[in-house]
Every structure is written in structure tokens, then in C-alpha cells.
Amino acid sequence: MNQSAFLAALRAIFPPDRLLMAPAALAAYESDALTAFQARPVAVVIPETQSEVIAAVQACHRFGVPFVARGSGTSLSGGSLPVKEGLVIALNRLNRILRLDPQQRIAVVEPGVVNLDITKAAAPYGLLYAPDPSSQPICTIGGNVAFNSGGAHCLKYGMTSNHVLGLKVVLPDGEVAELGGESLDSVDADYAGLFVGSEGLFGIVLEITVRLLPKPETYRTLLAAYRSLEAAGDAVSSVIASGLLPGALEIMDNLSIQAAEAAVKPGYPLDAAALLIVELEGERSQVEAEWERLKAVIDASQPYLIKVARNDDERMKIWKGRKSAFSAVGRLSPDYIVQDGVVPRRRLGEALAEIEKLSAKWGIRVANVFHAGDGNLHPLIMFDGREPGALHRAEELASEIIDLCIRLGGSITGEHGVGMEKRQYMPRQFAPADMDAMWALRKVIDPDELANRGKVFPAGEAPALRQVGPHPLEQAGVISRE
């Protein structure tokens, strides 16, 4: 690559204040929420228009420079980790809601729009954007699309891809394509559906058409405290077997209860081994009828305590505790790894017992918060990075948990994506033919592997990352860890 010519090309597109090259300015972009990985890009550009994004991608294509799109950098899988000597395209200023059409219940937005801002804009019309990852006050919709983000309400309403109707994208060679449309239905193969969750490997989204839903008329939220995780897990099975379809079914274990209580005081019972949060939502008379059934099911599951949110404040408090759990665990431990593997719901109890054993075996504390309704675990593996070898041991434990999820018939990731963090596990979940097919697709769409190079596929398949071993990028000096 002719770096000075490339930078000159960028200078022709971007004014100096939106083309960052000084080391101090680049430092902020070296990591995302998976801080264990760092890499320094050659530059960061901050486009304000779609045509500037396209021009930046075209420049990368012309000079063969890999690029990574970035929103708020909240990826927990290292999805927006820069490529060393590559370009970071920061999309936060493409944050316009281009159109909000309440009658057709759609919004057309740019990728830098913050998730929660869509719901805020839709609220005056009684509408909302349903996917609600815990990071929704800061994460951007572009990142949500790239990683098919989830949240607490996926069982009933699905993930990001279930709410994206159309996309305008720039492919890795600078060509622009429009996928899907504005209708809920389609008569073509679902290309927008394939693009969502492709983790930046197929290009960058410029415009997203999302569907909006009417805000539920009412919510009924309860907390049930149990003496064992197993009892809480059994309660989830009973709720499902009763024919109810709650909007959310969440479980927190004692460690995460402690952490959440210390952080935001949601009023959780501190002595509970497990806390179950169940939320019904919808039309009032339907919810009232469901509520009677839910209470009977929960009573029969013998919790030692039931708390019902009596108003919206109490409901928000319950959710604040749950949604703060990740950051709250930071109070219990200087460092932690979050996993998000999935197991079939009926095997949740087995998975939790196994995680407990692994935790004891490695002598590492693991807090569990999870979307029980869809079997999506969130073990928070705690360690102290200053202790020699602690990170490595935590990663070994994480690796065993991922293997456990695959063995139980689940997935290595439910919502955080593969990114950098879990790419080495892909061949454990997918057969060689599946990996080959995905690689072939990637190569046809992006022959030079410019878009988010090094993610999703295990090292060794990308030409720049030929090294073998547990951390080839570290060996190559491409990344370093704290």
C-alpha cells in the first residue's frame, strides 16, 4: 500500500478536523467494549454524509486498505476493533432520522442514530422500535444491524433482523445496493435479511428502514426469588408450558443480584440464589387474563418471595437493575469476560450446573444473568488482569463454556456476534463445508477482504493473519492486550 497516497486521497475527501491521524486522537478508537484487544488504525475518518462514506470506501478499495465501520464502539465481541494500519470509518455523525412515517409504521434512519433515539422519535405517535439491547442508550443502529443485536424481548419479537425491512448499503468495492424495501412482505429472496448480522463483512449500511410497533398498552412485571437456580429454571419451563408468551423472561444469580443491588439499588432480595423477572405486555384485558394464569404458575413454582411492580417506576427499577448487571459486575471484579452462548431452553439447568462446576474447577467466580426465555446465557467471568495468567485462565474457562453450549445443541453467540472474540470457535459450531461456503460468499462479495478483515473467520483463513496458535494477532504484533 502506498500510505501517503492513500492519506492524500482521504485529505481530498475530509477536512482536517474529520480526518484523525495523530496518535493521541487515534487512541480512543483502538478498542471497543472488548478492551482486551487493541489495534491502532492508520487513520479515523468522520463522515457527515453518505457520499463521504462511499468515497472513503472507494479510496480503501483503490489503495487496498482494510476498513472497519464503527458506531459507539459498544461491541462485546471486538466487532469494531480496528485493523492495524487500516481505516476506521466512524459513523456517529450520520445520525439523522431521515423519515418517520407513523401511518406506515416505518422509520428510515442513518447508521449513526442511537437505538433509543428511534424509540424517542416514535414515542409521540405511540410507537416504538422494539429491539432493546442493554446498551440501547448509546449503541447505534448501524452496529445493531451489523451484529443482529438482541435484547430482553427477543422471544416474542425477535432480534434486529426481524425489525429491518430495507437497507441501502455500500459494498466493499464502493458499489451501492438497495436491499428489501418498505413493505412488511416481499417477493424476492431476503437479501436484507442476509446482510443483517454479517458483522461488517459485506460492507457498510448507509440507510436502514425499520418497522415500528405500537407501544404496548400495559405491562405487568414480577420478580420471583428462589432458593436455587434450578427452581428458577423450572419456573421458566412451567411458564412456557402454560401456553403464555411473556415479553421477557430473565434470570439473575446471586452474584449478579449483589452487583446490581450495589450499583443501582433496584430493591432485589440479596439472599436469593436466583431471581426470575417475568414481564407480560400487550392489551390490558388480555394481559389481565394472562396475569391470572402467570400468578398461578409462579405460585406453584414455590418462590420464597414474589414482588409485583405496582407502577411504571417500580417496573423501571426492576429493569434498571437487570440492565445494569454487566457494568455492576465491574464493582465485584476489576475485569471480566462476558459470554453470550445459547442452549436449548430445557437444558438451561444442566448448563448452569456445569458452569458452576467449571467455575469451581478453575477457581474463578462466574456471575450469571440470562435471557431465560430463549436460552441465551450471559456468564460474566471475573478476573484480575493484573494477576499473571488470570486472563488466560478466564479465557480457558470461557472456552469450556462455549464448548458446553455447542455440546448441548446451542450456539456460541446469541446476540453479541462472533467478531474477534469467538472467531476461533466457529469451526466447532459449523462443519468444514459450512465454513467453506461462508468463506466463499465473503470472497465473492469482498475479494480483497477489506471490510472488517480478520473478524468472524478463524485466523489462518485471512491472508494477513496466517499465524497459528491461540492468539496469532498478538504473536504478529497486530494487537495487544491489557
Partner: protein, 351 residues
Amino acid sequence: MSPDIRDLQAAVRAHVRVQPRGARTKCAPRADDAGILDLSAFSGVIEYQPTEFVITAWAGTPVAEVQALLAQHGQYLPFDPLLVGRGATLGGTVATNACGPERYRYGGVRDFLIGTRFVDGNGALIQGGGKVVKNAAGFDYPKLMVGSLGRLGILVDVTFKVFPRPEAYATLRVDCPSLEAALALLPKLTNCPYDLNAIDLLMGAGGAAALFIRVGGLAAGLPQRMDRVRALCGSGQVITGDDEARFWHAAREFEWLAPEECLVKVPLTPSRIPALDASVRHAQRRYSVGGNVAWIATRDLPALDAALKALDLAGLVLLNAAGDPRIGHHRTNAFAERVARALDPHGRFVR
């Protein structure tokens, strides 16, 4: 006994052009030189765990068989599959994206297909997605297969997310003097916080229109909910019981279609209905999924094709097409071309 996937792969490799065939209930792109791969041996449920809300079956399985099994456990396919009575299979339902009026409530085929194995144009067997309801690993091939019409892969098996079936249903019929009056009422319904399962708009003779609003859930809350929908609409007649079930069954089976008519699906948004309706005024038609899908019956496909092109709308002939079922304006794009090149580099599938 399991069907032989390796035979299917070998058959793909052995042909210059291939075309999958299920129960032949719907149209597909055709080519005279294509070898037909009959999938009737790929039939039967492979795995069903009611408490997981997940079912896996061979692609050639009749939808009716799956529905009957799900019903035994109080569950259903919420995307409301079409033409089940005619023998539609799961694979054909996915390949043609054949979802019905209740798709309005929870989503279409794309929202409930969570995994699939398919044979690509190289004869490779590829797994996309999985058997858990939440999964972000790997490219989302299941979505790509929805509506792909056999042009990108031959479905071998499919895994669906399923839901508990509403315990009871009721439907409100609201007669409107004109399409305009019905369309004026529509956003009130689509934006209200009531949980509506389906909203279909039927055009009658002389320009009158009728809205059919389906509500499902626990029997206990239903009468009260119907009262509220009626209050919102200002009037209406509640239909329950067998009459109600028959109405929606007839809608899914397109019983209103005359034998020699072609059935065309046109996805759109409610705001585009007036312009389309003006150009198909002499055809039988209904607007389903809260105004997001037009179903048009016609004897004159070329005329409809021209009308759709003029309106920049795409259509798919689901029943009785003579040639290519895609009519109107089908946009292509660079991404789609590359995906086809990756999955079918030798051009074996009928495009």
C-alpha cells in the same frame, strides 16, 4: 428412514440445470432443460420439542402434517402458511414466502425460519442458522432462502420457531362505503395499542370495501377486546366460531379465485394502495397484512405486468402462471448478483 441427501447432492452435480419440486401447489421459475429434483422423499418431522418452541422437518413435509402435530401441543406457525389444504410443503412455503393474513401479528416466514440445510449450486450441503430460537453465529442463510424460489439453493430441511396458539379468535367485519373510507380507518387500527392478529381489506362490487380485523388470545379477555375494536371503528359485526375460522381458512386457500384466474401477490405499503387499486379496478382483489400485501386475481397477466411496472411494484404469480412467475418491476442489485455467483457459480439453478 432418512432420505438420501448424498443422492440429492450427486443429482445436482450431475445436471447442467436443476429445479427442485415439492407438491407443485405454487408456481416456480421454469426451464425446459432443467432436471427435476423431486423432494417428496424428504418428508416427515425430524425433531420437535414443544417446550423449546422449535420444530425441524424435511423440506418436502406437507405443512398440514406439521400443523396437526403442533396443534396437539397447543402451538402453531404464526406466519399463517398459505394453500395448506392444497398440499403445500414446508420447502415450497419458504421458497415462495407464502405467509398469510396473520403474518401481521408476529411476522412472516423470515421471522420464524431459524435454521435450514440446503444444497447449493456446487452440490455442497450447507447448514445455516441452528435449532435454538436465538442465534447470531454465521451468515443468516435461512433468511436468504425465504422467497428465493429455488434460485439459490435446494432446501433439505427447515427449522421453525413456533408459538403457543391463541386459545380463541374473533373477527370484526367493518363495512365501508369506499376504499378511501377503509384506508382512512386503517392507520387507526395499525397504530392502536390493541393486539390485532390480522387486518384484511376486501374490495366488493361497486367500490365498497370491508375490513376484517382478527383478534386472538385467551378466551376470557376476548369479548371486551372486540368491544374496544368496534368502538375504535365506530361500527362492525363480530364473527365468531366456525364462521370465523371458515372465513380465514377461505382467505388462506384463496377460495375466491376463479379456476382460470392467476393469483398475484404484490407487496406494498398502505399509501400505495389507491394508485394500484385504480389500475386493477376490474379484478378481484384484497389487501392483506394491514395493507402490506395486495392479492390480485387476473386473467390478463400482461396487462397487470404493465400496470405494476408503471407503478414500480414487483409481483409474484403464485397460482396459474404460464411462464416466469415474476412480473412487474423486479429490481436487481450488485449484492444479489454476488450472492448468486457464490452459491451457484455454474448457473445450475433456474433464475
